[in-house]
């Protein structure tokens, strides 16, 4: 079920009624049933995968927790009669014992992810290499389908496991409660990637019907629908036209595509997250925010703190930090400092870790070279921006522009253009083509043709652009307000009729202007007996 489908709306409506009728202690069970129902509807053949992940992670986690408790209790009990070396040795032993369960679980679950997601990518490359050497294709592709949400729920589960391993979390006290955490339907399709310690605070209830909270949740869902149907799905039409015929739409059109895609993706992704978080709110569950007005970022590092926040945090906490402060990395850093000086020694762990993280981020998004290129491009740009820091410092010491609005605008525009162009790897899904198209932006002479009406031949008419700009305008205003306060609270403080009128307008514009349904093509109605 897509979020923006009739069946999903019915699903939520029915669930909503049931949720607030049944005894509160069963609410989380209802959510569990609903989540598996939702999952089964989309992907029943692959139910096995999520079950394996759920069961293995829960029991491995429980074992680790037992070890943690055992260690704590033992040390407490024998505080007096253990020497420092004894304590250290004991901890080492526990660490070893934990390792087996921990590694086994990690291997199984990332193994499943790797198998389902990357097998054909590996095969593709093996064949490619074989062909490069003049041989025939070695392997044929396997018919493996991707279980729905596997990238998201695997990451959620592994963060659960790692947090227990680090003794930062107590974990769930029942397999079924954990199963709900893993499969929670609002976030199974595109996140956010919740942390157990955060989600579990509100996931299991009990929840009373709170009119204001439910109203806020519904408003947020409505807002998400508006973004997806009115802005995103509309822009998608033109985006598809542009990206499907690169030879025809090079040069200036690449710039147009870049910007259109940036707003389409933003509206679609944040819209989907709004719906997810809004649903959570309706049911009393607090889901983490995933976006923080990313297009207001002043540089690329800041951007990645504002876009897909939970993903960035996951890679930071579970890949970036462990990698960069690992013994091996520190040794490498020391070695580099000794042999190449401080400057290089300091940079090495940062740069290597950054590239590895962005490589994995890229490949997490998809099993193809264009995603790897996308990831690495982000990593490289980040590294470059780190390198340029001293020059920026020098610049700001000479020119007092740091606080000026114009300069902020420049930074924002620069960042938007930068991330949008890197995203072209994701758009064209082909590395050499992307470079070619990027280059054509600078070499092409066809910028003037953008104004001769060709933009009206991408599948969108003038009134469609009016709607898009109008929608983006509303988005901008809302974002500007959000810098200082919560928009829904603001509206809630206004007189009732204004508030109701605003939402009425939102619902009506969503229903009338949304890019859904079959559309009206008068030529369809031509009556032809043939």
């Amino acid at each position: 079920m897509l979020f923006t489908s009739y069946s999903f709306i019915v699903f939520i409506a029915v669930l909503f009624v049931l949720y607030y009728i049944i005894p509160k202690k069963y609410q989380w069970i209802l959510l569990l049933v609903a989540s598996y129902f939702f999952y089964g509807l989309m992907s029943i053949k692959y139910l096995g995968y999520i079950l394996v992940t759920t069961v293995t992670t829960f029991y491995a986690g429980r074992q680790l927790k037992r070890q943690n408790l055992y260690q704590k209790d033992y040390l407490k009990e024998h505080k007096a009669d253990m020497s420092r070396e004894d304590k250290k040795a004991f901890k080492e032993q526990i660490k070893k014992d934990k390792k087996i369960y921990f590694l086994a679980c990690i291997l199984v679950n990332f193994g499943i992810l790797a198998f389902t997601k990357y097998t054909n990518f590996v095969i593709y490359n093996v064949n490619h290499i074989s062909e490069m050497f003049g041989n025939d294709i070695v392997l044929s592709f396997w018919n493996i389908a991707l279980p729905m949400g596997i990238s998201f729920y695997t990451f959620k589960s592994m963060s659960y496991l790692i947090d227990i391993h680090r003794d930062k979390s107590q974990g769930a006290n029942s397999l079924f409660k954990f199963a709900l955490f893993v499969s929670f339907f609002p976030q199974i399709i595109q996140g956010p990637i919740s942390r157990f310690e955060h989600l579990s605070k509100t996931l299991y209830g009990p929840h009373t019907f709170d009119y204001d909270r439910v109203a806020f949740g519904l408003q947020r869902i409505l807002w998400g629908f508006f973004k997806k149907l009115v802005i995103a799905d509309r822009l998608l039409i033109a985006v598809n036209t542009l990206k499907n015929s690169p030879e025809q739409y090079s040069g200036g059109f690449v710039l147009v595509l870049m910007l259109m895609y940036s707003f389409e993706l933003y509206a679609d992704f944040t819209g989907g997250i709004d719906i997810a978080i809004g649903i959570g709110q309706v049911f009393g569950v607090t889901i983490e925010e995933n976006f923080n007005r990313p297009y207001f970022a002043k540089n690329i590092t800041d951007f990645w703190r504002r876009w897909h926040i939970t993903m960035g945090a996951w890679f930071r906490d579970y890949v970036f930090y462990p990698l960069s402060v690992s013994k091996r990395m520190l040794k490498l850093s020391k070695w580099a400092r000794k042999n190449f000086g401080d400057a290089i020694g300091r940079r090495l762990p940062v740069y290597i870790s950054t590239l590895i993280v962005w490589f994995t981020t890229g490949i997490w998004h998809g099993a193809s070279w264009n995603f790897i290129a996308w990831g690495l491009a982000n990593g490289i740009v980040i590294i470059i921006s780190l390198e340029l820091k001293p020059y920026y410092k020098w610049f700001h010491s000479k020119f007092n522009v740091a606080d000026k609005r114009v300069f902020h605008a420049f930074q924002i525009i620069r960042t938007v253009l930068l991330v949008s162009s890197i995203r072209l790897f994701d758009v064209y899904k082909n590395v050499p083509l992307t470079f070619k198209m990027l280059g054509s932006m600078f070499t092409a002479q066809n910028y003037s043709s953008l104004f001769n009406g060709s933009l009206l031949e991408l599948g969108l008419a003038m009134y469609d652009y009016v709607i898009v700009f109008g929608g983006l305008g509303v988005l901008l205003i809302v974002s500007l307000i959000q810098r200082k306060s919560n928009v829904r609270l603001q509206l809630a403080s206004k007189p009732v009729h204004i508030r109701h009128a605003a939402f009425l307008m939102l619902i009506l514009s969503l229903l009338v202007f949304g890019a859904y349904g079959a559309g009206y093509d008068a030529s369809q109605f031509i009556y032809n007996q043939f």
């Binding site: 349904g517 009556y527 007996q529």
Partner: protein, 355 residues
């Protein structure tokens, strides 16, 4: 809390009111161009009984003229036809009509037997959108939907037509709540002439059997008429194209025999009816024009007179008055069409006529 409920209710009423009005505004009016979309709903304006009911596709609504039947036989009739009306749509229309009245005779054009499965969403719409809300309508929708369609788009056509906001015309505002009369008890009038030039050769088919679904609904139609004491008459309209295969004809002959029904293949009666495809067709043999339809109606009326005891209502003052109005409108439109033909070379009154 009570205040909240009241306020919410008011807002809900406003919302649904706005949606209701918007739906009326955004639905295509079919008052110009492809006016056939307005055929089905024109039935509900009728106040008096009809003793003969035609049901089926364009081969009924363009080839028979109720006014002619009235003037020459005193028979009241209505044609509940629509563009490419599929057999199950005909069945459910009949079922619905019987809630309003029980005619003496139902005439069904069997060309639709060749369509065993849902065809085109746009044609579905032209037939179904005009139906009043009823159980029959829901069942008709269900049988007609293509796999990618949803029932809810038919119950709330707003969802289907909302994107028309960008192509609204004056007609959409003017005819929001009622249409202007365009037809004559379901007859779509054309006075222009385009003689037959060339009839494409018959293509051979791999299978001439009509589909299971078609037969199912034909059975249902037969039973429905029997249960309601209505005579079902099967016909094949006199057109030169699309092809009516002999194998199809035979199946209908057999069916009629098995079920004790009358079946007339009027293609064989063209000469007898006096139909001349040089003057009586407006689209080179696909459909008859007004002169053809009038001839056909005269001929068919004779058959009906022989076979059935349908009341001649010309002496009934109530009916006579109503039908005088209808005839007046009929001849007025005819004259206007001839005038347009003379002045402009083509018929203008239907807006841009797309063929």
């Amino acid at each position: 809390m009570k205040k909240k409920i009241i306020l919410l209710s008011i807002s809900a009423i406003l919302l649904f009111g706005a949606l209701f009005l918007l739906e009326k505004l955004l639905m295509p009016k079919h008052v110009s161009g492809i006016v056939e979309g307005s055929l089905i709903e024109s039935y509900y304006n009728e106040k008096l009984k009809h003793d003969i009911l035609f049901v089926g596709d364009c081969e009924v609504y363009e080839n028979f003229s109720p006014v002619t039947l009235w003037e020459n036989y005193g028979y009241t009739s209505f044609i509940r036809g629509s563009a490419q009306q599929l057999i199950w749509q005909s069945y459910y229309l009949l079922e619905e009509t019987f809630e309003y009245e029980k005619p003496d005779v139902v005439v069904f054009n069997v060309l639709a037997m060749k369509y065993d499965t849902p065809q085109k969403e746009a044609y579905n719409r032209m037939t179904l959108d005009g139906m009043a809300f009823s159980k029959s309508k829901l069942e008709a929708i269900n049988a007609s939907m293509l796999p990618e369609e949803h029932m809810i788009d038919y119950i709330f056509p707003f969802l289907r037509y909302h994107s028309r906001w960008s192509s609204l015309t004056k007609d959409d505002f003017q005819y929001m709540f009622s249409k202007k009369p365009l037809f004559h008890n379901g007859y779509y009038m054309r006075v222009d002439v385009k003689p037959v030039e060339y009839i494409p050769k018959k293509k051979k088919l791999s299978n001439y059997e009509f589909g299971e679904f078609s037969y199912k609904y034909l059975e249902m139609m037969t039973n429905l008429c029997k249960e309601n004491g209505v005579e079902l008459v099967l016909i094949k309209s006199p057109t030169l194209y699309p092809v009516w295969y002999d194998e199809w004809d035979q199946q209908m002959i057999d069916y009629a025999k098995d079920h004790n029904l009358m079946y007339f293949n009027f293609i064989d009666h063209i000469e007898e009816a006096g139909i001349d495809f040089n003057t009586d067709t407006y689209d080179a043999g696909l459909h008859l024009n007004i002169t053809g339809a009038e001839k056909m109606s005269l001929y068919f009326g004779e058959i009906l007179k022989e076979q059935f005891d349908i009341i001649d209502r010309r002496n009934d003052p109530v009916y006579a008055e109503a039908w005088i109005e209808k005839s007046t409108f009929y001849y007025k439109m005819r004259d206007q069409q001839y005038h347009e033909l003379e002045t402009y070379g083509e018929i203008m009154m239907y807006g841009e006529v797309v063929k």
